[in-house]
Symmetry: C2
Subunit: 119 residues, 2 copies
DNA sequence: ACAATAGATTTGGAAATAATAATTTAATTT
DNA sequence: AAATTAAATTATTATTTCCAAATCTATTGT
């Protein structure tokens, strides 16, 4: 007998691309970058000052954000301005922030163990 | 002279928590799980069949989703039902899906190198 | 053309993740 | 109470991610 393909087999490449974007923003320093430029473009040197990490490390994070299309760049003389490529990234960022606020305020911090389900 | 704290120093713990949630969903198999249960609860054994990964591995992913409060559980007899804890997680998931669709359709797939900024 | 400034890339090692296999726990049925 | 079914946990190993240090490239000003 032939089995139907699982949802994972059918959509594996989609989930892979999706997780690539999520991984791209799943880093404290890259989130700080996104937070800094979400209201408008900013140069690398300004980001270095405001975020307070090394230029080399910032540049690495920017390269990752660039490679996944999360940010855009524009050069003006010696400076390169970075901005968010798609406003929906900001919307997603904000939604997760809300989840965070809601869970830290309401949810009890007990990490649920599935074996809590005793009778 | 005393320097002002960088945004990263001031909000580091926030960004860390934020990235924890992002990391939690930044995995193809966990995205498949979220996609499967986003319309309603489902048992572990049903998920094993539909997603098509081993029970042990699925259980590990469920434990990660549980520990970060992304999913909820409910036991009924021998079965444990999993569901999404906060609908905003789904909203964020959908937003990223849209970003993905938009970028695969419109954006040229050239990975931008910052040194493209030549004159 | 040379120095200075802004930013990117490479390399290497440490830490975090992910998948598999094997074992264990809980609830139900006989 | 033994067997069965559903799900979780524990090692173990392979892969990935992260940061720092050093080096390199592009642009501008002199």
């Amino acid at each position: 007998m032939v089995f139907a393909k699982s949802i994972f087999m059918r959509k594996e490449s989609f989930y892979h691309l999706h997780s690539d974007i999520c991984k791209t923003i799943a880093n404290p320093r890259r989130l700080a970058i996104i937070d800094m430029i979400h209201k408008g473009e900013m140069t690398v040197s300004t980001l270095v000052k405001k975020i307070g990490i090394s230029q080399a490390n910032l540049s690495q994070h920017l390269a990752i954000l660039r490679s996944k299309g999360v940010v855009q760049t524009r050069r003006e003389g010696n400076n390169i301005y970075y901005s968010i490529a798609n406003p929906k990234i900001i919307a997603a960022f904000d939604l997760i922030s809300e989840v965070l606020r809601e869970s830290t305020s309401s949810r009890s911090k007990t990490v649920s163990n599935a074996f809590d389900h005793k009778r």
